[in-house]
């Protein structure tokens, strides 16, 4: 019951309906959509109706109930255009029209449908629809709205449709492909569906607040897309109308909550978890290099063991610390201005206090503006061994904060790339080598903590293996037992600039504070620092001991044998080979694009009910489960996304098939059988043809969720093939065409309108897949709103073929989507859209008349029709009409267009310069116009045809 404040009242009609229901016994039945569909009996056809397939029987039944009749079949030309547009999103070619007109065989139409379903363009058309549903975009959507690379997933979608992958599998992969045993690249890639949501990189946001919002988005997109449920209503409270509780909402979120992801990302680029988007050849290369690396590692181990077995003596024990590999030494004896020790490569951000140190003096760091820098040290790559050592005496131990000792790691806008040696919130030693958080780094930490208010030597060594076990940590010269926190590094760790992602050769090493910023956790070190040393080699433990206790000569046997291995020529040689291999691996991976995908964390994150959906207010813990009103989530199913995808396609699920069938019905007929295609709940519309919906849904499942079967079934029906003409009777009884006594007619989608004119002009470039492209776009629409993303700072228009690709490939920037698309109701892709609006505005007229896209198409068409259309102007105009509208113009239409031509030709003959200007619109230069004024006049005629409603309406 809606609360009183909602001001909802029953209409008189509704009251009467209720009275009637009570009079008739007030029988209560569960909401239709929650009862699994049954295969309904095909109704018997009343006389006077035609049925080509079962759809027509169901449609005819309703028509007779409402005293309506079917319309006659439409003509062949219109039918061909209609079905070609619906199945491929493109118009038929003249040859296809002629062939179809000439084909008098009984199955002429079916042949066409089969041809279209096999065409490569079918997959693109289906993908176009899926892009709205899956809120696909090429930018992040919030704040900086920077670049993201997800198009390999879009290409996988096209491929899946073209291969006619079963719908259940198509969806299951997208929900849980990563969780399949030995998941293939495609299965992992498919899960990008759940990472298409918007993300923020705004500095200072609270990570958990946004991370949770992504989980909510996944949950709600899942519910809307696959179940037609408005589960989002239950985020703050139990659903007001549908039997969905707040608890159930959060149980659903638990499926999507176990991703190791960030709430605050960087302005540009992808963030983990990711999967490489690779060709089989590259895949093989990856396998090869990884194999070579492990072989080399084994070889080194083998050599090491051999050495240990041969002899126990070290030929020469050094008596002094290693200075050969030392590339920096800071003593902190004095400060002048901001320069310490008279060394321009050791500076302070302020005037750091110099105080008593471990040896001589030391630097005392007292706060957040007090960091030190080491300059002119080349950055280390992940395959390069390096070590560092320093003396620290810290006053701080804060369970919520870390303390940076030395680092080059960047901030969110450089993926935090670099290395960081720090004390964590428990004052344990940590070393992190980062390519990108949260997925591409290694981290090792000590189990023990260092003391506060006491001088201690802390050191690390790293062997260049890009593995976490290659890190050793030392406290007071003693190797400290460690644990590996994260162990996945396969790309470069060289720091990059935040504003253009170009590597920085010598990023100053910061001491005493991180470069992170934006998070409130800045790694501020408090206390004293002394004797900082940096080595471009992996030091042995013996060498580290010599740093901590220079006078020590008494080494344990282990330390001695380790040193022996360390010194061994063969080991050094083999390690150098390994270094090369690791470098090769890094190079290989650096060039590979990765797509954001789902990946389950080994230990599930706890999921909660949040009061009013607010991240600060977790209440009770919940576990993954599905709404009770639907089919039971079987105990046999794993309580994760894999289980969820199985549950979704359980034949007892009352919604999955219906929702899918309805969405594709909407795609073909313009409107769903359930008109509220995004809401099958109690507030949604009732199906216009419930029996038909159920019949098709059950059949769809029986046919193995075969989408091509489903589409074919729809377009083969008589209902689809009817004329779309509106007669007086229909206008009165069924103005909205709910009962389909005629074929639906409506404005085509934004993409189809543009693609139609590209195809008609011959400009269309049919290349499939690849990076998104940037066709003409007026103004400085990007930079005038935002200058945070460096990759998307200015709209850089594509060149050449990329200007003429299908609109499916047009770059989608969410906070500033392509205006011509938006004007024709294309959504911004910020959220999942199941159903587009279909409006009519003056701006649409302006686009079709003035957008260079359409003007160029018109003038290129003017060239094409003179070349291909025949000799006479009449023939040429007729050709343009057929190219754009898919049928021959009738004599009246032709007469009008010829009249227009004559008038325009007169004008352009008098104004040849104007004619030339018009013929210069757009980038395409391949067209020579012999007769400039004629061509200009024909351009306006072509433009008029593009603006004719039959060009942009489905008829």
């Amino acid at each position: 019951m809606p609360p009183q404040e909602n001001n909802l009242f029953l209409t008189d009609q509704e009251k009467i309906l209720l009275y009637k229901w009570i009079e008739n016994g007030a029988e209560y039945e569960e909401h239709w959509a929650f009862i699994p569909p049954k295969k309904e009996k095909i109704p018997i056809l009343n006389p006077g109706f035609i049925a080509i397939n079962e759809i027509d029987n169901f449609i005819a039944e309703k028509l007779s109930e409402h005293n309506l009749i079917q319309s006659p079949l439409t003509d062949k030309e219109r039918l061909l255009r209609r079905v070609t547009m619906d199945i491929t999103g493109l118009p038929p070619t003249i040859k296809e029209i002629d062939d179809f007109l000439a084909d008098t065989s009984e199955n002429d139409y079916e042949k066409v449908v089969d041809r279209l379903l096999l065409s490569a363009e079918y997959g693109e058309r289906m993908a176009q629809e899926w892009m709205d549903v899956s809120r696909y975009a090429d930018s992040h959507g919030m704040h900086a709205d920077g670049y993201r690379l997800m198009w390999p997933w879009r290409d996988w979608v096209i491929k899946a449709f073209n291969e006619n992958q079963r719908y259940d599998q198509f969806v299951e992969w997208q929900i849980a492909g990563d969780m399949y045993p030995n998941a293939t690249n495609d299965q992992k890639l498919a899960t990008a569906f759940n990472r298409n949501h918007t993300m923020t990189a705004e500095g200072g946001v609270i990570d958990e607040e946004f991370r949770l919002s992504y989980v909510f988005d996944r949950t709600e997109t899942f519910s809307t897309t696959f179940l037609g449920l408005t589960l989002g209503c239950a985020r703050c409270h139990d659903h007001k109308f549908d039997p969905l509780s707040q608890k159930e909402y959060y149980q659903m979120t638990a499926f999507f909550n176990n991703v190791n992801e960030l709430g605050m990302t960087g302005d540009d680029g992808n963030y983990g978890p990711m999967t490489p988007a690779v060709t089989p050849e590259i895949s093989q290369k990856i396998l090869d290099i990884n194999k070579a690396i492990s072989e080399q590692e084994e070889k080194i181990n083998f050599t090491k063991n051999q050495i240990l077995n041969i002899s126990k003596f070290v030929q020469e024990i050094p008596s002094k610390e290693n200075t050969k590999d030392r590339i920096f030494y800071g003593e902190f004896e004095k400060i002048e201005g901001k320069i310490l020790d008279n060394n321009k490569n050791l500076t302070s951000s302020t005037t750091t206090e110099i105080t008593d140190g471990f040896k001589g003096n030391a630097a005392r760091l007292t706060g957040e503006y007090d960091e030190l820098y080491i300059h002119e040290v080349n950055g280390f790559e992940a395959n390069e061994p390096f070590s560092a050592s320093l003396w620290v005496n810290t006053t701080k131990k804060d369970s919520t904060k870390t303390q940076t000792l030395m680092c080059t790691t960047g901030n969110k806008n450089s993926f935090w790339r670099g290395w960081e040696f720090y004390l964590d919130n428990n004052n344990r030693l940590n070393l992190k080598l980062i390519n990108s958080l949260p997925h591409n780094y290694i981290q090792t930490r000590t189990q023990e903590s260092i003391e506060i208010n006491e001088w201690q030597n802390v050191s690390f060594t790293y062997d260049g293996s890009s593995k976490a076990k290659g890190i050793k940590l030392f406290i007071n010269g003693k190797e400290s037992p460690t644990e590996i926190v994260f162990d996945q590094l396969y790309k470069s760790i060289l720091p990059i600039r935040t504003d253009n992602h170009i590597p920085v050769l010598q990023k100053p090493i910061r001491i005493g504070k991180s470069y992170r910023g934006f998070t409130g956790e800045n790694g501020v070190f408090l206390g004293k620092i002394d004797e900082v040393k940096l080595f471009n080699a992996e030091l042995s433990q013996l060498e580290i001991q010599l740093i901590a206790f220079p006078k020590n000569t008494n080494f344990s046997e282990n330390v001695l044998s380790a040193f022996k291995i360390h010194q061994d020529k063969q080991v050094i040689n083999e390690k150098s080979k390994l270094k090369d291999l690791v470098f090769q691996k890094i190079q290989l991976y650096n060039d590979i694009s990765e797509v954001m995908v789902m990946e389950e964390m080994p230990i599930s994150r706890k999921s909660y009910i949040y009061t009013r959906g607010e991240y600060l207010q977790p209440k009770e813990i919940v576990f993954p489960s599905t709404p009770q009103v639907l089919n039971n989530f079987s105990d046999d199913l794993p309580k994760n996304r894999l289980g969820l995808s199985n549950w979704l396609f359980d034949e007892k699920n009352p919604l999955t098939a219906r929702v899918a069938v309805n969405r594709y019905w909407q795609m073909i007929f313009g409107k769903g059988i359930v008109e509220s295609s995004n809401d099958f709940g109690l507030q949604g519309s009732r199906p216009s043809h419930p029996k038909l919906l159920d019949y098709l849904s059950v059949s769809f499942m029986e046919e193995g969720w075969n989408l091509k079967w489903l589409i074919k079934k729809m377009v083969m029906s008589y209902t689809y093939r009817q004329s779309s003409k509106l007669n007086e009777k229909d206008k009165e009884i069924d103005p909205s065409n709910k009962f389909l006594s005629r074929s639906p007619s409506y404005r085509l989608q934004a993409e189809m309108i543009r693609d139609n004119s590209l195809a008609a002009s011959g400009l269309l470039v049919k290349k499939q897949g690849g990076e998104s492209v940037k066709p003409y776009q007026p103004g400085d629409l990007w930079i005038e709103k935002s200058s945070f993303s460096h990759i998307l700072l200015n709209y850089r228009q594509s060149q050449g073929d990329s200007l003429y690709r299908r609109s499916l490939y047009t770059f989608v920037r969410r906070t500033s989507p392509h205006p011509a698309m938006t004007i024709f109701d294309a959504p911004s892709r910020e959220v999942c859209t199941i159903k587009r609006e279909n409006t009519s505005t003056p701006l649409q007229a302006l686009v079709l008349l003035n957008d260079p896209e359409f003007v160029e198409a018109a003038r290129v068409m003017a060239s094409r029709i003179q070349e291909e259309g025949g000799k006479s102007v009449e023939q040429q105009i007729q050709y343009a009409f057929r190219l754009t509208i898919g049928r021959k113009a009738n004599s009246e239409e032709l007469k009008l267009l010829e009249e227009l031509y004559e008038k325009q030709a007169r004008y352009f003959t008098k104004n040849p310069i104007e004619a030339s200007k018009l013929l210069a619109v757009g980038e395409s230069k391949d067209f020579v116009y012999e007769n400039v004024s004629k061509s200009a006049a024909l351009t306006l005629v072509a433009s008029t045809i593009i603006n004719h409603n039959e060009a942009y309406m489905k008829r």
């Binding site: 009242f9 704040h143 998070t519 809401d679 103005p735 649409q844 009008l896």
Partner: protein, 485 residues
């Protein structure tokens, strides 16, 4: 109608046409021009074309000019005078004042939160005695026209969610903007111009971003989205004829598009064809009406002087203020300006000087200009941003500089004109300007009040989408009656 909006939404376009005698023009209702008004220059008595038909009650305001100051202008340097900040400068903020407040990651890591006072002097102005700092000398002169709200507050602590919240009622993308709700509800009063026009100051690169969604239609049909008018050629995207095509060519072409359309209508009987023909005519009219309004060259010198030198440079805030007046004169319902750059995390004094120099004079001029034309009576002018700034300094306080972080718990805005008290100040904050001490005005309250002034009950203008009736104010919002005249 028992409730507004939803029925009409489900109302099919053709059904609507079939059942109303209004005919075709109804199609174009929305932000894009209301064709129902006859071709006369006289102002209509009633507003047509919105889903509400008539407003819920008599509106005080016929139109709104919303001067959005993006980035979070600092109330402490402008209107919310707190002398204690200067006195205690450099000391730590009392724990009792900042306790419990969530901070952004920009300053939450600070070891100390040091009080910082305004570097700019405050004075009392006008008969109302409103405190305004020296940064806003022109605004100071018109304080007796203004109603300050010093107790604004919001839920978000970062720009994107905060600006999305105040402009669409939700912190996350997907909802219609204020202007598109108004277009949806009220339609248009002008036959040649959109009812929702957006003007953005040019050249503010580096500032916090804007997003199309701020003037977007969300789940409402796209005719309700704001139309951006831009400085320079093509003031509305795609407005200009292609090179080589004259107005006469175009007229002729349109005539033939129309003739073909009529043939097609005779054959198909689809009323949508005729509605589309109407859109072409409106597009044609816009080709004249928009450049005409954008051409400010005929404004007299004293007007330029009033708005400041910048007003001659297209795309400046000053020029946009002048345009706003011209749009208001032509009854554009919702005129939304954006001026970016108020995000003073550091270097606040310099930044504030720059921002105020760009905006102070034009804002004051706009209000005075509207007044002298008698337009202020039924035009609501709003000045404000998405949140305020902290009373403590972000970063180090130096001799001539400091910064302030985002502060959602209080900020100052002002309103003027239709239905609003003059020379009035509402709401107060504690002595540090950190917490509200009286008369809190939440963003949803502000939105409810805005709608109220336009004759809309914010609880009754809603739209059913995905099973829920959405409205601008979500499930919140109270009209702030105390500020109503």
């Amino acid at each position: 109608m028992s409730y507004c909006g939803n029925e009409n939404k489900n109302y099919n376009r053709r059904a609507f046409l079939a059942k109303t005698s209004l005919g075709l023009g109804a199609m174009a209702m929305g932000s894009l021009i209301n064709p129902l008004i006859a071709n006369s220059k006289s102002k209509p008595i009633n507003t047509f074309g919105g889903i509400l038909g008539n407003p819920h009650f008599a509106p005080k305001a016929k139109r709104v000019i919303y001067l959005f100051q993006s980035g979070g202008p600092s109330q402490a340097e402008l209107f919310d005078y707190k002398p204690i900040l200067e006195k205690l400068q450099g000391t730590n903020m009392p724990e009792s004042v900042i306790a419990g407040q969530r901070l952004t990651g920009m300053s939450s890591g600070q070891a100390s939160y040091r009080v910082v006072g305004s570097k700019f002097k405050f004075d009392k102005h006008g008969e109302s005695g409103a405190w305004v700092s020296e940064l806003m000398p022109h605004t100071a002169k018109i304080v007796d026209e203004l109603c300050f709200i010093k107790s604004m507050n919001t839920d978000a602590i970062n720009h994107d969610p905060a600006i999305t919240f105040i402009q669409t009622g939700s912190q996350f993308p997907g909802r219609p903007s204020i202007g598109s709700w108004l277009s949806y509800g009220l339609g248009s009063d002008n036959e040649n111009l959109p009812s929702f026009v957006v003007l953005v100051t040019k050249g503010k690169q580096g500032a916090q971003p804007l997003y199309s969604r701020l003037w977007g239609n969300g789940f409402l049909p796209s005719q309700y989205q704001g139309v951006q008018f831009r400085a320079g050629k093509d003031p509305v995207l795609y407005l200009d004829n292609p090179p080589g095509v004259s107005a006469d060519n175009r007229r002729e072409q349109l005539d033939y598009i129309d003739k073909l359309g009529r043939l097609s209508h005779d054959e198909n009987g689809d009323p949508e064809i005729l509605s589309r023909m109407n859109q072409y005519e409106m597009a044609f009219r816009m080709q004249t009406s928009v450049p005409e309004i954008m051409n400010i060259s005929k404004e007299p010198d004293h007007i330029y002087k009033m708005y400041g030198e910048d007003s001659k440079i297209p795309g400046t805030y000053a020029a946009n203020c002048l345009l706003a007046r011209r749009l208001a004169e032509r009854d554009v319902k919702f005129i939304q300006l954006y001026h970016q750059g108020w995000d003073a995390h550091g270097g606040l004094p310099g930044l504030m000087k720059r921002q105020c120099k760009e905006t102070d004079q034009p804002t004051a001029a706009l209000i005075s200009d509207l007044k002298q034309r008698g337009l202020l009576e039924d035009t609501l002018v709003i000045w404000g941003g998405e949140f305020g700034r902290t009373s403590y300094s972000q970063g180090i306080i130096t001799a001539d500089s400091y910064g302030r972080d985002h502060h959602p718990k209080c900020f100052s805005i002002f309103m003027a004109g239709a239905g609003i008290k003059k020379g009035f100040s509402f709401g107060s904050t504690d002595e540090f300007g950190y917490n509200i001490t009286s008369n809190s005005v939440h963003v949803h309250d502000f939105q409810a009040t805005l709608m109220h002034l336009l004759g809309i009950d914010h609880e009754r203008l809603n739209f059913k989408y995905q099973g829920r009736r959405f409205r601008l104010t979500d499930v919140h919002g109270k009209v702030v009656n105390e500020i109503l005249a």
